[in-house]
């Protein structure tokens, strides 16, 4: 038996308060610890001093050519000279305000959607209006053909019906039927050639084709729309993979494994080289759109696997309880299963988002210049040759701002969504 007599309680020594206390406790608690801390602090200080000297004290901020920079520190003059190209690529120089406002629009769209209070029908408005403004600015001219309106009617009616069918009033459901009906009939008539082509053209600005797009708007568009479409698509794939219907399951497994087994580069090349071979001659799909589709397909497969992990982490009892209440498959999935599964996978999901944000640079392979690639191009100018460090540091800084905010948002969302659900 050990001694169980109560011992007198002693208050802990009060040295671990304030800066000195903290340092003594955490940095110099022992000789070895103290020496390690000193060495590391010295090394850090030395690197920092060197960097400040290079990046600020001896740096050149304005110059007419690279030659004037030589022998000094960082040549920020290069960035000063080239930043418009790095940000906006070959977009007509006089029109650079357009991609600038497109980027601002997209960022505000993303910022608004990151607020949980917007996660309802408002999202549809935010994204419709935001996308319209973005592409109007980027293209300058938007042509909405009748086919486009028919497809929108069909898709909107279909999605609306799928989501609301079990709860909506009769009148609302009839609206969905009507939208789907008009869309479907119209498309059939269109295909039979009965319905003439006509459309609405909005042309407030001069037309700029996607071939001239470049820089930060390209990166943001590819990543944003890539992930925005890949996400629901990945959710469907993940659900399909768990389906009891062998055909659906087989298709989903096959697709996921096929896409995951292939590098994104080869998918991009296939989209740009091979896809046109299968299309009837005369028709062509925009290169940018093809890259976008390739990104969506690729990201979708990865997102699906992450979400499947979340689905598997749910206890069987959750499914059974939902079944026992009489919820149907759609209700069970959307009200009970996905809300829980998605919470679990926020960190790996955002991790994938960050990865894809950077991976969009691979579109260079098919001749699209995203932000990293325009930065790279800026180095080609012989007048400014020889300062890759500055340009890549600058590009890295911009990427870091985006990726770090995504990472912080992931953290915030995790806390927010788990509020109250943990003891």
């Amino acid at each position: 038996m050990t001694d169980v007599l109560p011992r007198p309680q002693v208050a802990p020594p009060v040295i671990d308060t304030g800066v000195v206390g903290w340092a003594r406790k955490n940095l110099f608690s022992s000789w070895a610890n103290g020496i390690t801390s000193l060495v590391l602090m010295f090394a850090l200080g030395w690197v920092l001093l060197w960097f400040i000297d290079w990046a600020l004290l001896t740096a050149t901020f304005t110059a007419d050519s690279g030659a004037e920079c030589r022998g000094h520190g960082a040549c920020w003059a290069l960035i000063h000279e080239k930043y418009r190209y790095i940000f906006f690529g070959s977009f007509p120089y006089q029109q650079h305000w357009r991609p600038l406002f497109a980027v601002i629009t997209m960022l505000s769209m993303l910022l608004l959607s990151s607020d949980r209070r917007m996660w309802n029908t408002r999202l549809i408005w935010i994204w419709s209006i935001g996308s319209f403004i973005t592409f109007l600015l980027m293209f300058g001219v938007l042509h909405f053909s009748i086919t486009f309106f028919l497809v929108v009617a069909l898709v909107a009616g279909g999605i609306g019906y799928a989501i609301r069918s079990v709860i909506a009033q009769k009148a609302e459901l009839y609206a969905y039927y009507a939208a789907m009906g008009i869309g479907l009939v119209g498309l059939v008539l269109r295909m039979l050639g009965i319905l003439p082509t006509f459309g609405v053209t909005i042309a407030p600005l001069s037309y700029v084709e996607t071939g001239l797009w470049g820089g930060i708007p390209v990166t943001i568009i590819l990543a944003t729309y890539g992930l925005a479409f890949a996400f629901p698509y990945g959710v469907l794939l993940a659900l399909g993979r768990r389906s009891h219907l062998p055909l659906i399951k087989g298709l989903c497994v096959g697709f996921i494994e096929l896409i995951r087994g292939v590098p994104l580069i080869s998918l991009l090349i296939m989209a740009s080289v091979m896809l046109p071979l299968f299309l009837p001659s005369g028709t062509s799909i925009d290169k940018f759109l093809r890259a976008q589709v390739a990104v969506i397909l690729f990201a979708g497969a990865y997102i699906a696997e992450i979400i499947r992990g979340g689905l598997q982490s749910l206890p069987k009892g959750q499914f059974e309880a939902a079944d026992a209440m009489g919820l149907n498959y759609v209700q069970k999935t959307s009200l009970v299963v996905l809300p829980q599964a998605l919470r679990v996978v926020i960190p790996p999901l955002i991790n994938t988002f960050i990865g894809f944000f950077k991976d969009t640079s691979l579109v260079l392979i098919i001749g699209i210049f995203d932000f990293l690639n325009t930065a790279n191009q800026a180095l080609v100018d012989p007048k400014w040759a020889g300062f890759p460090g500055e340009v890549y540091l600058f590009a890295a800084f911009v990427y870091f701002c985006f990726c770090f905010s995504m990472s912080r948002y992931s953290k915030h969302l995790e806390v927010e969504l788990n509020k109250g659900t943990r003891r």
Binding site: I167, Q318, E320, A321, A324, G326, Q331, Q340, G420
Partner: protein, 257 residues
């Protein structure tokens, strides 16, 4: 206890009928020739050793498990693969699980109103009123806005009972509702169940709480190796078990209680 039905049940209509039900998991037969007839308002307690198929039996009634042979008729509807039938039956049959299975991402109130709103299309406000009245009945209205993770086991199980009752079911199935609970919480859950029995609900309850069986059951069923070995009124069942296996089982659990 005054809750027990002293009247003759045989004249009442049947709400659940099982005829020659057989079920296998792979090669393993879990249910063998189960015949069972449950009258309206009848309270049945099912007991038996672990793995004897008790859970499987009651889970077949709301088709969480599929049986392979025989007929199960619930509230006049024969169970088949027809999804409409299954959904119709699940609306009439409430179930309470051993592990509560509340939805952790929804508040208590949302847990209760989920099925009424989505399955029965009850307007939200009305569903919330019903939910609050049921929470009062299980004596935890003050927890309505908390999340399941913030409640004790006994409270969670009472919420689970209220959640099942929100659908105004004709039949309630309980699968060992108290066996995941600490001893001091068992009573609060059993009290709610006894009250419910007193109101005339048809109940099938898998439990080893013999006190509960004595207090409310019209019939106790003993299962072993997938068969109904013996069934009788509680007094008879506990006083004069006929089958050897029943005697052995009762000997074991009564020694522990």
């Amino acid at each position: 206890m005054a809750t027990k039905a002293a009247h003759d049940l045989s004249k009442l209509p049947s709400v659940i009928t099982l005829k020659g039900v057989n079920k296998w998991f792979g090669q393993f037969q879990v249910l063998t020739n189960i015949d069972l007839d449950v009258k309206e308002g009848e309270k049945i307690v099912v007991c038996g050793p672990s793995g004897s198929g008790k859970s499987t039996l009651i889970r077949c009634i709301n088709r969480l498990e599929e049986h392979q042979q025989g007929d199960i008729i619930v509230d006049g509807v024969t169970l088949s693969n027809d999804v409409k039938n299954i959904e119709a039956i699940r609306r009439e049959v409430g179930m309470v699980f051993q592990s509560f299975n509340l939805f952790p991402h929804l508040t208590i109130l949302e847990n209760l109103t989920l099925a009424p709103i989505w399955v029965k299309k009850t307007p939200k406000k009305e569903a919330e009123e019903i939910a609050m009245s049921l929470l009062k009945r299980v004596r935890i209205p003050e927890q309505a806005l908390k999340y399941p993770g913030q409640l004790s086991g006994g409270q969670q199980q009472r919420v689970a009972i209220a959640r099942a009752l929100c659908m105004r079911p004709k039949i309630m199935l309980f699968d060992e509702p108290t066996s995941a609970l600490d001893p001091e919480m068992v009573k609060e859950v059993l009290d709610v169940m006894i009250e419910l029995a007193g109101e005339g609900m048809t109940m099938i309850c898998v439990t080893h709480e013999m006190g509960f069986a004595r207090a409310v059951a019209d019939r106790v069923i003993f299962m072993d190796r997938g068969e109904i070995v013996e069934q009788n009124e509680p007094e008879e069942f506990f006083a004069n078990p006929k089958n050897e296996r029943t005697k052995l089982f009762l000997g074991q659990i009564l020694r522990h209680q």
